[in-house]
Symmetry: C2
Amino acid sequence: MKEVKVINSCDGKLISLSHDSACNNCEMALNIYLPKQYYSNETHSTIPAIYYLSGLTCTPANASEKAFWQCQADLYGFSVVFPDTSPRGESVPDSKDEYDFGQGAGFYLNSTKEPYVKNYQMSDYIHKELPKELENYFQDCRLDFTKNVGITGHSMGGMGALAGFFKLYPHYKSVSAFSPIANPSAEDCPWGQKCFSRYLKDFKSESLEYDPCELIGKVKPKGDNDVKKILISVGTKDPFYSTQLYVDRILEYSKGTAWENKIEINKLQGFDHSYFFVVLKSPACQIPCH
Amino acid sequence: MKEVKVINSCDGKLISLSHDSACNNCEMALNIYLPKQYYSNETHSTIPAIYYLSGLTCTPANASEKAFWQCQADLYGFSVVFPDTSPRGESVPDSKDEYDFGQGAGFYLNSTKEPYVKNYQMSDYIHKELPKELENYFQDCRLDFTKNVGITGHSMGGMGALAGFFKLYPHYKSVSAFSPIANPSAEDCPWGQKCFSRYLKDFKSESLEYDPCELIGKVKPKGDNDVKKILISVGTKDPFYSTQLYVDRILEYSKGTAWENKIEINKLQGFDHSYFFVVLKSPACQIPCH
């Protein structure tokens, strides 16, 4: 892993990194924000990480520049990891005419269908390889990327965060999502139908592994579970609300499961699918006082 | 003027507009943020405007998405106008290989040299045409775009804000600047040398009209002047600090003038020239409490 750039942001630093991913067989870029607590000599507690999974077309830059997790990170003392949304590079299979498939659209799954298998292993990359690479790179016991960690994301990344939370339960200590694609394996979700069927050999069974609605009933909160609430926010004027996201289905699927009373869906009047929604208005992202 | 898009942002709305500019002989785009006070039935006071002039390469989108004036606007009850940085379009002379000349780089001046005269009248556009067009479009006595107005900007836009403030004094009731090009007519300012000499017929005399350092001694604050402070912020790791901006010269040029004690330069340790500097850290742009 190598440092590409360090930028002052809020009271900490935003670091652009790059590394050769063994999972994805290509160079992967990411940003990480280290909060002011990391640079202060006063506090000696361990700094937990939140992984922020971005949506379709995004690189690590979008959320770093527009989502303002930095000020939250400074208030509460966590780092934020902004991974890329897919493998990248000339040798990586792509579909340049499609914004929602190929590079920029990895859907946080492990591909099982050619020609994508070699590079599109985003699930393993996000949940396994990247955290270890970060710990190896920083070699700093004050930074925790593998144990006391949370996950969140937007749209395709909200789906990836929820699915990852359930798949790896109880690995992530917190989870939330902005405008997630909640039920990608459903027949009426065009993004899931189109992309899962091209990345996965057996759409019917494999797609369930990455579908938050399908996963929620398969995982039981443990007695020592400390996830009190799964916060989900969505704008009422999100153009994908009732054509791709189907956020409310998470509540339906949670009925009768141990997660039933743990899910809170916040609907924000008039907001759309853009970063103007992610920033500031969601209960999961309120800018604190200075 | 026509409405292109309305987006919820913070507690107000960001409106994308477009109009035929008589000054610039082309269609001009802009964004405007109307704060929550405009949409509330409770307050009936007039809403003043701040014009935010962006830097090289920017469109109205950059600052709208990355500078977060919106939350300031909601706190204090002003609108924010985000104009474009130059005329645009296929018929507008451009220089596609240069990021710092032509489209995206209007330098907020009135060109007097061909082939730029017909389109590059950004000074008149910003300070005269646009405010009137906004008043005509909204036809709302609660929105004030021409009288109780302030101006600010970043880099090339910081220069444009300071120069406009002095040129039109006492029109603007407040002025501030982020990382401004403070002395563009100086021999050691490559941006000014290159661009002013190509836009202006008589570089030697005309360039002084758009140079904040040169203008500051020519304008006397009036007795009823209410500009208490001109706030200027710059990052100490700004790569253009000592090759293009020369922010400290404003203090030198102000010596012996009536503005001498009215200028406050804030140097922010470690910050660069990006929007990570504009957001949050500048005393002119502190995010308020919710």
